[in-house]
Amino acid sequence: MRLGGIDPSIIRELSGVYKPFPKAFKELISNAFDADADEVLVEFADDFSCVTASDDGCGMTPFDFRNDFARIGGGSRRWSGDRTKRGRLRIGSKGIGFLALARYCERLRVESQADRTAKINIVVPAGTGPIDVTKWLGVPMSPEILTTCVSPTVTAGSRRKKTLREGHGYIWQPKRGRITIDKKIGPANVVLKVDCRKLRFTAVLDFDKLLRLADNADLEKLDDFASIEVSLSDRSDVKHNTRITAEALRPFVRKDLRSERRKGFVRNISSYGGYEQFLWSLSRCTPVQYRKGTDVDASSHIFDFLCEPTQPTLRKLEVVHATVAKLVERPIYALEPSSPKLHKDMLIKVDIDEHGLKAVGFLAGYESIIFPAEYRGVSIRVRGVAIGEPGFLGAETILTGASKAALSQITGEINVLAGLDAVDTLNPGRESFYEESEHFKILRRHLVGEGERVGGCVYRAVSAVIRRSQVRSGLSDVLGRVGLRRRVLDDISAAVTNLVSQGDDASRAIKEMLKSNRSELNGLSKAPEFDFVLPPRVGGMPLVAKRELESASNVDYDAEQVLLDTARREWSWSLLLFDREFVVVHKRGLPEHPIAEVDFKKREILVNWGHAAKPQMDDHSFLKMALSFALAKAAGRKDARLAMDLAIRLLSYAGSSNG
């Protein structure tokens, strides 16, 4: 067998298109899909020395193997149409897939058979002697096979054709493998009909030999890079129609497959073990079914968006190593059990139908960074197979700052239902699109817009992520400030308790103060109230005070509002001083008014937010200082040193270590 007219250096280049190993191996799965297979079984040897892919597709005749499989540019789409017999859109097109594994193994053993009949047409000029049939068939066949499976039909005449009977114009000698046409007949046409249903062939492609050939090697030496043997077989023995084994996997492939998962906690697929990475890659680049998780919340719409039923896939792709079988399914981040909840406002539907390009899918944004990192980006599937790695079609190079960071929180999946034909728009190996393709330009415009500004669906997803982030950070700021104020009150409360338990002068003064019922106010009581109002909005959403929420806050993205549970203790202004409860009242006094005053009768502590010291510090520092000074003054009213000591001790007290 030969690869007619192909320079070995071109073969070397073509084989290099497929990298790394899983991307090359996926070609075998794609071939099985194009052969209308439902199930594919991949079996690794325990030591990863070889791997076999078996499928239940329509199989190959020895002639299919010679003419289509092992031929550069022999893609079946060109003469069999765009669809398989069962109506699947074919994945393969360029006819170089058989070279995919050339760099990764020494040999490729192909075993197959098909329920088909092959016809070989031979035009025989007048006066031709005995014809060697095996030479015309192109594959070696034993006399037994020739006897059993090959039947010639000979027609005579160049214009009016007349079918001859055997023995009357020609002699068919299957054991000798030849047809002899009577010289009186003149020019004739011989059709060799080969019934392949009982034929099984085993072919071996010697990649080692193929790649070793130097650029200047004689092309004729390529003839024997493949061997083929055809035998009769009983179909009942055969479970799989085609069985392809990559034998003697190269040491670097075996090393990669054997590599262990990185130690410690790992989040990204690239840190997984080699075999796990292989399974992951296979799940992304082969036409397999989606892994369906629990249908909850917004993610339940995802399958509607993907139009999944219209995209045929393999029913089952199973990979076995060391007796452990794993089903390969295509994972979607939104449906993974560990993924966070997907909110409706973060789910963006993609539906493109323009100039023959039809694509559907979704983009999903998340509040947190997506792990594993391999899920980030939009994965585009053409004919069920992902093209390259997920990405943002160049948006990542345009965006900057927070918008760029938001991309790490976006995932997506798009199925191209029509257009973006594999031959015209996809680079060999299906790793990327030709950017000149009109369909690709349309797809890009819909997804990321045009020019130097990012638009389209990615822009909407980025905006949704950023908006959530703004709401979250605004809310966290509000709650943080409330928490800090509450913490000041708790610290003062704990400081008083601590002082009381010391049993010293300060302790006695505090106890004495707490027994008091006096009300010595110096004008602050008449000052107007200072209203601690909430900021009207966070991240563009109005804040609404509500009681008895399950959590401290709740963002209602549907109603576009942020709810805050103001009945919680964080919002309360009560202050427990040993065993007496006080309320902190906010006043807008004059700068020269006292910073704070204690009304023991009403159990109120009035804080002057208009005090001259306030502009010098933030809310909680000012509050702590005001309360400390007011209490120290009240407790140490007869002893300035004691008052100062108390003020310092109250100010410096911290309730917890992380304060």
């Binding site: 708790d490 409360s493 704990a494 308790t497 601590n498 009381v500 338990s501 010391q502 049993g503 010293d504 302790s507 106890k511 203790r569 427990l576 040993f578 065993d579 409860e581 410096s652 007290y653 911290a654 309730g655 917890s656 270590s657 304060g659």
Partner: protein, 448 residues
């Protein structure tokens, strides 16, 4: 100010069936807590049983000192303003052991203890000088559960009721609690049991406690009793005989109350049982206040006959330090004697019981010291004894070194080398959390 009541009055008049009593073992603020793993509120567990049995009210437990799933008790530095306590010129780092108060406040505010919020919060304390944490616990409880009554029980309430009633925002201080003859209510711990069960010497209660503990997967039993040899060791023997078959991995820990002078051959036989994982002998004083070496010799003879010889990994002897009247030379001699007798030495810092004989004898001296500094780790009698706290710390190093000399043979293959010395020093520092000291025992005593 809190009302002083007895346990009897409290149970009969102030708790009803409608109440939900939350029992709290608060966190501890200390400079060092070597026996952290043995903190279990045995009194609360007994009270819980009594409340459920007699009052029939709902009872919950909040044990801040319970180790987590990994067996660790949370430890954190105190905030910066209280990170160091300065006592007698010595700076002590201060840590909080157990769940911090602010975390407790959050737990109390949530419906952690069922739908019915606690109506009473009973707070205990193992030692009276940990009273600041008790006061803070009262504040947290009062703030988080404003309608609940706060009750103080335990050592602080018992020994210093007046101080407690003035210093804590409690409603009741229980100065005296009737002895409760009820088995501990271990089911209050739920699924997450502590790693051991504390028991006393009443055989009926002990058997019930150990049975309940074993059913919950706990196999370590620690005796919390002052006198383990009471009644000639008969209760101890009965306790062991009736429980040792309950689990093949059951282990007893005699961590206190074992006086050498009281050890008889019968008691030694009980202690010789291999299920005793730890046997610590209290320090024995003779009539003239010197170390009762005869008592040690007799006890060790009986223990050796029972299969617990000197040098056994299970055996060690306590030596008090920080008692009034300490002399450094005498302490070192005692260390060497106990080490020779038992093979291993544990220093036990002393603190007086409020109202106890040492307190009464040195009332004026002790009352001038803030009670929180009565912690034995601060050596409250240091000034009285005219022994510096740094010298007491050196004794710790000496004890570690002596133990190392006698017991540790880990680095024998490097014997005599600088490497071995450095390894031992490093280990000792790690064990005792101490900085290296210039003090070294230069000559090995002839009899070691």
């Amino acid at each position: 100010m809190a009302k002083l009541v007895t346990g009897q009055t409290l149970l009969s008049k102030h708790v009803s069936r409608r109440d939900h009593v939350l029992l709290v073992n608060p966190p501890v603020e200390e400079t060092r807590y070597s026996w952290l793993r043995w903190n279990q509120p045995l009194d609360l567990l007994r009270i819980a049983a009594a409340l459920r049995d007699k009052v029939r009210c709902q009872v919950s437990l909040l044990d801040c000192m319970k180790p987590d799933k990994a067996g660790d008790v949370q430890i954190e530095w105190l905030p910066r303003d209280r990170r160091y306590a300065t006592v007698g010129g010595e700076r002590y780092p201060m840590r909080r052991y157990g769940e911090p108060h602010d975390a407790l406040a959050k737990r109390l505010e949530k419906k952690t203890f069922g739908d019915k919020r606690p109506t009473q919060v009973w707070i205990t304390s193992l030692c009276s000088y940990w009273h600041q944490s008790v006061a803070e616990m009262c504040r947290v409880a009062k703030q988080s559960l404003p309608d609940a009554q706060i009750v103080l029980v335990g050592s602080y309430a018992r020994f210093m009721p007046k101080h407690a009633s003035e210093s804590c925002a409690a409603d009741f201080v229980v100065s005296k609690f009737p002895s409760l003859e009820k088995a501990s209510l271990l089911d209050l711990y739920g699924r997450e049991m502590p790693p051991f069960v504390a028991v006393d010497l009443d055989p009926e209660m002990m058997v019930a406690d150990v049975t309940a503990a074993v059913e919950r997967g706990v196999v370590d039993v620690a005796f919390f009793v002052d006198d383990l040899c009471a009644d000639g060791g008969q209760p101890l023997a009965e306790c062991v005989a009736r429980t040792e078959h309950l689990h093949k991995h059951l282990r007893y820990h005699a961590i206190c109350g074992l006086k050498p002078a009281d050890i008889t051959p019968a008691i030694a036989k009980t202690l010789g049982n291999k299920k005793f994982a730890e046997v610590h002998l209290e320090e024995a004083d003779a009539a003239d206040s010197s170390l009762d070496t005869d008592a040690y010799a007799a006890a060790m003879r009986y223990l050796a006959d029972a299969g617990l010889p000197t040098g056994s990994d299970r055996l060690s002897g306590f030596v008090w330090i920080g008692r009034p009247g300490d002399e450094l030379e005498d302490l070192i001699r005692r260390c060497l004697d106990v080490l020779q007798a038992c093979g291993s030495l544990i220093l036990k810092p002393f603190t007086p019981t409020p109202g106890g004989p040492e307190h009464r004898a040195h009332a004026a001296y002790l009352d001038s010291i803030p009670h929180r500094y009565w912690s034995p780790h601060f050596f409250p009698f240091a000034e009285l004894n005219k022994i510096g706290r740094d010298e007491y710390h050196d004794l710790y190093r000496l004890a570690a070194f002596l133990n190392e000399k006698v017991r540790n043979r880990s680095f024998d293959m490097l014997d005599g080398t600088l490497g071995a010395q450095m390894l031992r020093d490093s280990l000792r520092r790690e064990v005792w959390k101490l900085e290296p000291s210039a003090l070294r025992v230069v000559d090995q005593p002839a009899d070691l």
